[in-house]
């Protein structure tokens, strides 16, 4: 794609145009939301759901305990002076013990979710290393800067509107009977959203939820109505996941993506992510496919092969297609040219950081340290990462290629991406197989996109896009049914009779409908994500050019775009092609 011949509008006119665009768009969105919100109030779900017995001592129907900004409502910590009972066993009633046990359960879950979230946040460093190592030295500072700034941009957008869209109506979600929120009932304040239809339970009574949840509308900028300790934990955990998606396209589009265009992307990406996340995790219609259409447990995605990685991968594909290949990537007759990365050790270190962070990403998604399935999740994650690397190794070997470290790193990441959805639901053998297939797929993916003219600097589309979709689908094949009983509110008598409980199970274990649900889930993320991404990147190009001019691309983006050379002490190759050898 040659952009040199394109005529641009004069700058002043472009600025006016974009300002008008922005105003019109903003006004339309604000207006529609206001209208919908006001009509939605009539359908607004009821207050907090029926609470388990051990909350009776702390919850007073006249004085709702949530939102709970101080953490006292989720069970009471033994307060020697406060409740006059302290550590005096004779004075404690059974309900007091329940209080303290409940508080401990929630405490373990909080600590778990928060600390695993810290690991996921650190994955930003891993992405930075992998991407910077795979780009040329003249673009190192710019690539690192993109991976750095995506964290504040994404976080801000998530705070402003993303969390509200994604989880503002979390309460709408179909939940298993007798289930309690692992982070506390405070999450029940997330009960504002937009949807279609009024859901009814088995007895035919309206539950107050939407049949088809579309998006949430509560929690903009985390205002006081959602100032609850449980909500804060959920916000943090979901935010670091969103940032993983946000940073994926920076890899595919590196070395020619204009800085200003990247910035507006960083503020926008929360939108497609949170919209789709609402459908799968936030109580939306994809999760509800089980109870609505009898498709397994609806779309199941434990830690986000679909929500995080497939979405990031298809956005990366859309972006790479719109921004076009790097100068010199394809010869005149369309043959792909190698543009080697400047620092392979950086790539390997980054991969290790990501693999480490994934031990937060996957097991953290139980949102409960008290859920001992976490050990399976960890082992499944590790095994998939390992078999994937070996799968890549074998593929390279059989193709007669050398064992390129950057490709092997892509292999490990592919396995991690693929196991992210099924990690809690498969057994170690299944995990090993899923990982191995991922390792093979990523090699073919990289070669495929090279060949069809999509320049993906780091292999992000193959690692995250293709294997994100494989992860979603593989759950529908390999889920064993041992875990996830009642997931997304689905409890089917036939399965309970046959297996004792209705856990999440795939094709090979007797539930073909789950496989269908996963196929639909994969289809939705691939199409919706790609369409939204493609439209956005094309539109954003009108606001500020998506690609840097040719002279800047050849010189290197470090100084022109971000004003700081990555390696000022070294004489760097400047030119379309570095002197090889």
């Amino acid at each position: 794609m040659n952009r040199e011949g394109k005529k641009a509008l004069p700058r002043a006119r472009r600025t006016r145009l974009s300002a008008m665009f922005g105003l019109a768009l903003g006004a339309t969105i604000a207006g529609s939301l206001a209208t919908i919100a006001s009509t939605a109030k009539a359908d607004e779900p009821a207050a907090a759901p029926q609470l388990p017995a051990y909350f009776t001592s702390t919850s007073d129907p006249k004085a709702p305990a949530w939102p709970d900004p101080a953490g006292g409502a989720a069970g009471v910590w033994a307060a020697p002076a406060g409740d006059g009972k302290g550590d005096v066993p004779e004075k404690l009633a059974v309900t007091d013990l329940y209080d303290r046990v409940a508080h401990n359960l929630f405490s373990i879950n909080f600590v778990w979710a928060l600390v695993t979230g810290f690991l996921v946040m650190f994955m930003q460093a891993g992405f930075m290393y992998v991407e910077t190592g795979l780009c040329r030295a003249k673009n190192a500072s710019h690539t690192a800067a993109m991976n750095f700034l995506i964290y504040p941009l994404g976080c801000f957008a998530f705070w402003a509107y993303g969390f509200a869209i994604g989880w503002g109506n979390w309460w709408n979600g179909p939940v298993p009977p007798g289930w309690y929120a692992s982070l506390g009932p405070g999450l029940s304040v997330l009960n504002g959203g937009i949807g279609i239809g009024a859901a009814v339970d088995a007895a035919g009574n309206a539950t107050g939820a939407y049949t088809y949840g579309i998006l949430g509308t509560k929690g903009w900028f985390l205002t006081s109505s959602v100032n609850d300790v449980s909500v804060m934990t959920l916000f943090f955990f979901m935010m670091v996941f969103m940032d993983t998606t946000a940073t994926i396209p920076t890899g595919a589009m590196a070395e020619r993506w204009a800085w200003k265009n990247f910035i507006i992307y960083g503020l926008w990406v929360a939108f497609p992510y949170c919209l789709y996340a609402n459908w799968v995790w936030g109580g939306g219609w994809l999760a509800q496919m089980g109870i609505n259409w009898g498709l397994g447990h609806g779309a199941v995605d434990f830690a986000g092969s679909g929500v995080v990685h497939a979405m990031g991968g298809v956005l990366a594909l859309a972006g790479a297609m719109v921004v076009g290949p790097r100068i010199g990537k394809y010869s005149k007759d369309g043959k792909p040219q190698a543009i080697p990365g400047h620092n392979i050790p950086m790539v390997v270190l980054g991969t290790f950081i990501l693999a480490f962070g994934w031990f937060g990403f996957n097991p953290g998604s139980t949102l409960a340290g008290t859920d001992l399935r976490i050990s399976f999740v960890v082992v499944n994650t590790m095994l998939a990462s390992v078999t994937a690397t070996l799968g890549t190794l074998l593929t390279l070997e059989l193709k007669g290629l050398k064992h390129d470290p950057s490709m092997m790193c892509n292999g490990m990441l592919a396995g991690l991406v693929a196991i992210t959805a099924p990690c809690a639901f498969v057994n170690p053998i299944g995990a090993g197989i899923i990982g191995f297939v991922a390792g093979v797929l990523v090699v073919y993916g990289v070669f495929f996109f090279e060949r069809i003219g999509v320049d993906d600097v780091v292999g992000a589309i193959s690692v995250h896009g293709i294997n994100g979709l494989w992860g979603v689908i593989s759950l529908g094949i390999f889920a064993t049914g041992e875990y996830g009983a009642g997931w997304n509110g689905v409890v089917r008598d036939t399965f309970v009779k046959a297996y004792g409980a209705d856990g999440v199970r795939g094709l090979l274990y007797g539930d073909a409908s789950q496989f269908v649900a996963q196929l639909i889930d994969a289809g939705v993320v691939a199409t919706v994500g790609f369409v939204l991404g493609y439209v956005w990147f094309k539109f954003s190009d009108l606001i500020t050019p998506i690609r840097v001019p040719a002279e800047i691309e050849i010189e290197g983006l470090d100084i022109p775009e971000v004003g700081a050379p990555g390696y000022p002490d070294f004489a760097l190759h400047s030119g379309g092609r570095s002197l090889s050898g």
Binding site: Q337, A338, I339, P340, K402, E450, G581
Partner: protein, 112 residues
Amino acid sequence: MKKIEAVIKPFKIDEVKEALAREGVQGLTVSEVKGFGRQKGHTELYRGAEYVVDFLPKVKLEVVVDDGKAPRVIEAICNAARTGQIGDGKIFVVSLDEAVRIRTGERGHDAI
């Protein structure tokens, strides 16, 4: 005076340096260069794309000697740098107009 420029394989530099020392050559300049003659390069595959390695790393050394010494120095370099495989390199001899020692201002033969 003659300036002898030799482009040789990088791993031969120590041998050549010792051979020159035995010939009484007291100074030389070395730079790292890339190049090819009839050796050409080879093709690798990097992430699905061909990666032509045609410039090969070489070392270029430059010594300045009196006219009389030049043939022996050339032969010393050849013997030390030769492996018998293609890519051994080349030697170019250039006549020099002037040489100056910066510290003392000496010129000509005294500067070498």
